[in-house]
Symmetry: C2
Subunit: 334 residues, 2 copies
């Protein structure tokens, strides 16, 4: 095991005090003689010194840890966001503690408490669920950035897309393609993201004078969006009432619908066009028939870090809406 090398070890070897070593380690080299700096650096190298972060955290009263709580890492979109956040945090000098809440309120609270005990510098909540603990810490003003789903029990900094605009874009696409019977599928327990997308979709159609009864709003049950789509499609794909086109609020819902379509020998996209608001890279490989309004997951990390920084510097909670990409709508197989 790595022997523990402390400031004192380095100081002894370099023949200086720990204060001096500490300053040099922290980059305060200008008020030390070049000779001392060199000697100390040599000693650091020689003994393989790395600052003990526990000591530093204790003294400074804060760690470099940031807690990222994700609802479900088995969801590729969530995993991609988590990964891009982790990368951006590392580049900014922070260390990511990742927690998978499995979309469960108690687990989320358990993590919130544990992370507080770690004195984390901030929280990133990817698809947060409502919970007493969340309410408490968000009211206390803990530094939290909400991702994809807005704070379900209050307000706060947010990183995501303009969900209503994305829904409206899908509506425009379907209208342009001449579809007549439209549906939208979302999970029964709707997050702010889901409801925003559905609402934007429906509102745009109503605005254009569509009769409400040709817009099917189907909701699905299930632990995963895969299941949600599969469940909803069972009610959607009934003879004589097939929709021409379906908006799926996520890629995984589209996968679930497609599975049901296969089982019922329906052809996607010939019998029914599917469009999602998501567009994860994986879809291009496993679901070439899926058209998507793309969410720029790759840049989430940077925005999330920017959000944390703005909170740390005392600015008001910001709302960062990233631009969606509609190019993939016009290409593809459909």
């Amino acid at each position: 095991m790595p022997e523990d090398v402390s400031l004192a070890t380095v100081a002894a070897r370099a023949g200086v005090s720990v204060s001096t070593v500490s300053r040099i380690v922290n980059g305060e080299t200008r008020r030390a003689s070049p000779a001392t700096v060199a000697r100390v650096r040599e000693a650091i190298e020689a003994v393989g010194y790395w600052p003990n972060q526990a000591g530093r955290a204790l003294r400074r009263g804060e760690s470099q840890l940031v807690a990222v709580l994700a609802a479900n890492l088995d969801n590729p979109a969530m995993a991609t966001i988590a990964s891009s956040t982790e990368t951006a945090l590392r580049e900014a000098g922070y260390v990511t503690i990742l927690c998978d809440t499995h979309d469960r309120a108690e687990l989320q609270d358990e993590y919130l408490v544990a992370m507080r005990a770690q004195r984390v510098r901030g929280f990133v909540l990817i698809a947060a669920v409502a919970s007493p603990g969340l309410k408490e810490i968000s009211e206390q003003g803990a530094p939290i950035v909400f991702v994809n789903r807005r704070n379900p029990v209050g307000s706060g900094a947010f990183v995501g897309i303009d969900d209503r605009a994305a829904g409206a874009a899908a509506a425009d696409h379907f209208v342009a393609r001449g579809h007549r019977r439209l549906a939208v599928v979302s999970p029964r327990e709707g997050s702010s993201a889901s409801t925003g997308r559905v609402d934007g979709f429906v509102a745009r159609l109503l605005d254009q004078g569509w009769p409400g009864d040709v817009i099917i709003r189907e909701q699905g049950e299930g632990l995963s969006h895969l299941q949600v789509g599969y469940d909803a499609a069972a009610r959607l794909f009934v003879a004589g009432a097939m929709p021409d086109a379906v908006l799926c609020v996520s890629d995984q819902i589209a996968y679930g619908i497609a599975r049901r379509a296969r089982e019922q020998s329906l052809a996607i996209p010939d019998d029914c066009e599917l469009v999602s608001i998501d567009g994860t890279p994986l879809s291009r490989w496993v679901a070439p028939w899926l058209k998507s309004i793309e969410i720029p997951y790759g840049v989430y990390g940077a925005e999330i870090v920017a959000g944390l920084r703005s909170i740390w510097s005392g600015e008001a909670a910001s709302e960062r809406l990233l631009p969606i990409r509609r190019e993939a709508l016009s290409s593809g197989t459909g």
Copy 2:
């Protein structure tokens, strides 16, 4: 922000010393009077005390942090392992620091150094790459569990499957199905897992007297296994030399091959059967044509924690080979 409540706060409120509070917090209640315990517990509750982990780590000389370095969280199998590890560690009282090394040696080393500075209690390396830093810490005897890929620069505890046996099982399956022209696709830069699977597959066929020249060993280039499969399939799918069946060392390779097949209007599995060694849950949804030898990712977490524990208790590095499931081979569409 959460005010910092320390042992001293609790002690003052309960009218006892910090020593007493500390003992009670740590469950050493038997040598304290019931009245005191009750008073302290009330005080803890009242002020919302949670032990500062930095203080505890500093004093104890070790944290409850465990570093999990994964090569690529965008790979669903890796994300699933990471998530199951995180869950198992939490249940065992540890906190997971997750790092995505993007399969890059320098990044892996950067993380290794940073995690050492955090005084993590152990490392979990999912698909480790060879790097100088890894060589150093593994030689120093740091507590490391290698997952899926064995230590590329030495030895150490391992959690994974019997790769050769899995390859052999695929061979048996193809033979039983009466296929004549067989192929196996793996990444060019092979990990211990890939090469083991390929070797086991080929060895079993040679054992049974197959001529070596009807076994195609194709390797693909690419950052992801998706790309690897897509690349390899370009050379595999040539008129007049089509294989009857292809073993893919991962699901993602199969997805890549399937994409190429679609582009060339080949029917999977009618023109060519695909079998993978992986069997992630997602495949059942997006690739129903894929048969798999299933790796039990769900139980990896528990085994990894068991591996860490055995290292901590001073036992010799263990090799934990989890049972593969072959049931999915005989079902499915193919």
